[in-house]
């Protein structure tokens, strides 16, 4: 009997708290009192809590049968999923932003996660006090508190039925994504079938973005949105024939020391100014701490400091050190442990470019800023230039460039845009951000002050370049296989 009381009394109190607390407050105070109206996901979360309470009442009435406990565990597990799935819609919003009403400073859909979690804890605790073979075979006689709890549950269920009828309507109508506020006046009721409309099913939704690849870029000149980009003659062609650990992903030039920086998927190679030999290199452990994925871009930040930016906008900064401590660098590098020290490893965070990858980075010493440019994907097609302050590597400016008036450039059609350019390399010179596009083999010059493209040229024979460096008055454009195309800087 003592064990029975240890089970039923706390369980009854827990169900009572659930009914009077979240379920009752949601319908009678937030709904009827304040006009709050749940969305389709909120309705399911609330229903799940009601069903957990009801399952508890089954235990109170019929004893702790395994199928009740099993169902309660399934409900709590699904409830945690629902809370996480719904809250994740608002995870990246600024502080205080969200959907619908708050309770104690937290939006209702976030509370459900906590409540389901408490339900799991409660079930675990109650199972601990159960003895073997204690499942009842017939209905228990309810004690007064249990009977009151059941009646209150019926009142809460009825209240929810009333609110659901007004807010969502009879079948086949169902909840809506953006419901209007609750009202007892039928003139204000909105019943909708919008959720039944055919829609694509996806596991990751908008987060399912394909990885960038220059092979995805269109090289059809007829698809170039610019009508009158002049052809830039090639000065000469060459090739990089150096021992690298994989295909080249970017190129940069350090004017102070007349050296080039080549990046590969994981490697950084500093070469002499004629690509004659590798002066220094390392291979970064891209899986340590920050997921650096695949290096897609590189830049000199100072004569002895280099930056490698991954396609996911994570980055690492390395400083040359002739006698770096190899043992200490084991965690950072996979090879050549004593040539660099790691200065920092972190991530660029963007706003307009959040759902796009990058394949380029450039450093402007004049503004002490790093620039990145997006590549389009199947879901988001937009050319976004992001500027990060070198001092804290934090986003300081973002813009989508336009064609500069007076540049002589024009789109082929009224709907033309720069969004289909696939920027795979960038470099800063003469106050302009030069970018090379794997699409259409085009070299664009962007004036960051004017936020505009001030010149654009196409380069004959350029097939899917991956990197751009500017040395003096020449632009060095490299492809993944090491092919170099050198053109005069327009």
């Amino acid at each position: 009997m003592a064990t029975r009381n240890a089970l039923y009394t706390p369980l009854t109190l827990a169900v009572l708290a659930l009914v009077v607390g979240p379920i009752g407050i949601a319908v009678f105070i937030l709904g009827f009192g304040l006009g709050d109206s749940p969305c389709v996901l909120c309705w399911a979360q609330r229903t799940g809590m009601v069903l957990i309470a009801l399952t508890g009442l089954f235990v109170i009435r019929f004893g702790p049968r395994p199928r009740y406990i099993g169902l309660a565990v399934l409900l709590a597990a699904f409830g945690l999923y629902m809370g996480l799935r719904h809250s994740s819609l608002h995870l990246w919003r600024d502080v205080g932003q969200g959907f619908s009403a708050e309770i104690l400073g937290a939006h209702t859909y976030t509370w459900s996660m906590f409540i389901y979690w408490v339900c799991v804890l409660m079930m675990g605790a109650l199972l601990l006090v159960l003895k073997d073979g204690e499942a009842a075979s017939e209905a228990r006689r309810l004690r007064p508190l249990e009977r009151v709890t059941l009646w209150l549950f019926l009142v809460a269920a009825a209240g929810n039925a009333v609110q659901a009828f007004a807010s969502t309507g009879p079948p086949p109508y169902m909840g809506q994504g953006d419901p209007v506020r609750f009202s007892f006046n039928p003139a204000n009721w909105v019943w909708s079938l919008e959720e039944w409309a055919p829609a694509p099913v996806s596991l990751r939704g908008r987060w399912a973005i394909e990885k960038p690849d220059v092979a995805l870029a269109s090289i059809d000149p007829a698809a170039n949105p610019l009508a009158n980009a002049p052809v830039l003659p090639v000065s000469r062609r060459a090739s990089v024939a150096l021992p690298l650990d994989g295909p080249i992903t970017d190129l940069a030039y350090g004017a102070g020391t007349d050296r080039f920086l080549l990046t590969t998927e994981k490697g950084l190679y500093i070469t002499d100014g004629s690509f004659g030999r590798v002066l220094r290199h390392t291979v970064v452990d891209t899986g340590f701490s920050v997921d650096l994925a695949r290096f897609a871009a590189g830049a000199f930040l100072a004569s002895d400091t280099v930056l490698a930016v991954s396609e996911n906008k994570s980055f690492v900064i390395l400083r040359e050190h002739d006698n770096a401590e190899a043992a200490a660098n084991y965690r950072y590098f996979l090879a050549s442990f004593d040539k660099f020290d790691e200065v920092s490893r972190s991530r660029f965070t963007t706003v307009r470019a959040k759902m796009m990858y990058v394949m380029s980075a450039a450093f402007d010493p004049a503004t002490d800023s790093v620039f990145t440019v997006t590549v389009p994907n199947a879901r988001v097609k937009r050319l976004v230039v992001s500027r990060f302050d070198r001092r804290d590597m934090t986003l300081s400016e973002e813009f989508t460039p336009v064609l500069a008036p007076g540049s002589g450039l024009a789109f082929r059609s009224e709907k033309g845009s720069l969004d289909s350019f696939y920027v795979s390399g960038a470099a800063f010179a003469n106050g302009k951000l030069y970018v090379i596009s794997a699409a259409f083999g085009a070299l664009l010059a962007i004036d960051p002050q004017a936020r505009a493209v001030v010149s654009a040229c196409t380069i004959p024979g350029l097939v899917r370049p991956v990197g751009l460096a500017i040395k003096g008055s020449e632009a060095f454009i490299v492809d993944a296989g090491g092919g170099l195309t050198i053109v005069p800087l327009p």
Binding site: T47, F58, L89, L91, L154, T168, G175, S202, G205, W207
Partner: protein, 55 residues
Amino acid sequence: MEFLNFVLIFATGYLVLRRPERERLAFGLLVTSCLLMATLFLIGARGSILPGLNY
């Protein structure tokens, strides 16, 4: 559909309180309500079934 589900839930609660001998029917209604709740949530979440956690 949410209204229908709360009607089912109310009926189930009533059976538990006043007709405990209909436990099998009550439990069947409870399971039906659970499945309906999960179905409605998944319909609303079908555009991105997994939580949006920057995969």
